[in-house]
């Protein structure tokens, strides 16, 4: 067991990040993926907590995976730092998980809910979902930002709530597609099984591409300038 040895290629899982503002449904998306794919893939989950371990507890209580495959990382109330400027804690949590339960197919990493600019560093994940919800307002997708425009998949969640919050879901999806230059957008609701199936298909497809060596991690782009003076342009590959 040596931290400095990157996980051996045969035990290296697809590392899939799930980011997005507070309460949009990141944990729910992870729970859904686990429930539907756990028979086909060996899975692990890392949650990032701001000041509680609520996310890890929620996923454990949902019984979506054996408890020991869900681990929490404490981010010192700096969720964006933990997925971008200083990924060491998360990287080690992922590597430990891959080693302890070798060999895993997919490790899901939930970011602590942050703002629209928080995206995962390619040093931590191979691909990332960005989760918005209709309850946050129909305008959000149009506003863009690195997560919205650059994530591998943009999820617009809770579309069942559209009529209750006066959001035209079709319009929101169209705005998002425009902000993403045609990149994939998924309208999702746990109450619409067909949308859940599409989410699972996307994950299956991503895993297939990754396992076949055909996926090259892209960087959605750095965060907006903020108080952590740091050179975000520096990234490294970990395999």
């Amino acid at each position: 067991m040596h931290d400095e040895t990157p996980t051996a290629p045969q035990t290296r899982a697809l590392r899939l990040g799930v980011a997005g503002p507070v309460g949009t449904g990141k944990s729910s998306v992870i729970a859904t993926i686990c429930r539907h794919l756990r028979d086909d893939f060996a899975l692990g989950v890392i949650t990032n907590d701001i000041y509680t371990d609520e996310d890890a507890r929620f996923l454990k209580s949902e019984g979506v995976l054996p408890e020991e495959r869900i681990r929490a990382v404490e981010t010192g109330s700096c969720p964006h730092t933990a997925i971008r400027d200083d990924v060491t804690m998360n990287l080690m949590a992922v590597e430990d998980m891959e080693r302890d339960f070798a060999s895993l197919d997919i490790v899901l990493v939930e970011s602590g809910g942050d703002n629209l600019t928080a995206t995962f560093s390619p040093a931590l994940v191979d691909a990332q979902l960005f989760v918005l919800d209709v309850a946050g307002g129909g305008d959000v997708a149009r506003k863009g930002g690195p997560g919205i425009s650059g994530a591998d998949l943009l999820v617009i969640n809770k579309i069942d709530l559209g009529p209750h919050v006066d959001v035209d879901v079709e319009q929101m999806v169209a705005d998002a597609e425009k902000a993403r230059d045609g990149g994939p957008v998924l309208a999702l609701s746990r109450k619409h099984p067909d949308t859940v199936e599409k989410l699972c298909d996307w994950v299956r497809e991503m895993h297939k591409t990754y396992a076949g060596g055909g996926h090259i991690p892209v960087d959605p782009g750095p965060m907006a300038p903020h108080h952590h003076a740091h050179d975000d342009g520096h990234t490294h590959s970990h395999d």
């Binding site: 040596h2 400095e4 010192g76 109330s77 200083d86 990924v87 060491t88 804690m89 990287l91 490294h236």
Partner: protein, 223 residues
């Protein structure tokens, strides 16, 4: 005085090794009402530097001297001695977690075979000492690096925990520079002796607070 830039690199709080998730015991001290204002913060930081800080810096200096001489035979003894000076199981774990993280970061930043020789979960001061040696720094540098990193990390967490004027916090850090220099010198001298003779000042309340903190449901910092 040749390797000053390497020392700045190692001591910089922005070195990506996960230190930002910790308050160095300040959060439990604030929560319990023991630190409530700037005077309290200054006393807290001085107390910490003179106890946990001196211990950490002495062990960093000792590890650095041994790594520089390419003799790691004492490392296991150093780890045992450091465990013995850290009564709180929680703080022993934090030290080893931070050590693993620092080792993981430094192995990517500046690879060296010595990092692999440190075992599964080395203490932070020991990794800091070895990292300093690998960067061509001496025992006193290693001591200063960990003193500064631990002190400025705890001070930075004050902005999230208390009503502070950040200028006041840095004024405390500025006043403490002479003290940290002196402590680093003390640590480097002590490092020349046997591991069992390294300094061992204690701060029992911090150990108890760390145990309480671990059991809290809601907290901003891991320690």
């Amino acid at each position: 005085m040749e390797r000053q830039a390497a020392l700045l690199l190692l001591a910089d709080g922005r070195l990506p090794a996960g230190g930002y998730a910790h308050s160095g015991g300040l959060e439990p001290a604030v929560t319990a009402g023991r630190v409530a204002d700037m005077a309290g913060l200054e006393k807290f930081l001085i107390g910490r530097a003179e106890t946990a800080g001196l211990i950490a810096s002495a062990f960093a200096a000792a590890a650095c001297a041994r790594a520089a001489a390419d003799d790691l035979s004492d490392l296991e003894t150093l780890a045992v001695e450091l465990d013995a000076r850290t009564p709180s199981p929680e703080l022993r774990k934090v030290s080893r977690d931070l050590g693993r993280q620092l080792r993981r970061a430094m192995s990517s930043i500046h690879p060296h075979p010595l990092f692999a020789a440190l075992g599964d979960a080395p203490h932070q001061p020991i990794v800091m000492g070895v990292a300093a040696a690998v960067l061509g720094l001496g025992p006193r540098d290693a001591a200063l690096a960990i003193l500064h990193e631990n002190n400025s990390g705890a001070a930075a967490s004050a902005a999230k925990l208390m009503r502070v004027d950040p200028f006041d916090v840095h004024a405390i850090l500025a006043r403490m520079t002479t003290r940290l220099d002196a402590l680093a010198g003390q640590a480097a001298v002590a490092a020349e002796g046997a591991p069992g003779d390294l300094p061992s000042p204690g701060a029992p309340l911090s150990d108890i607070a760390a145990e309480h903190h671990r059991r809290r449901d809601v907290r901003l910092f891991a320690s």
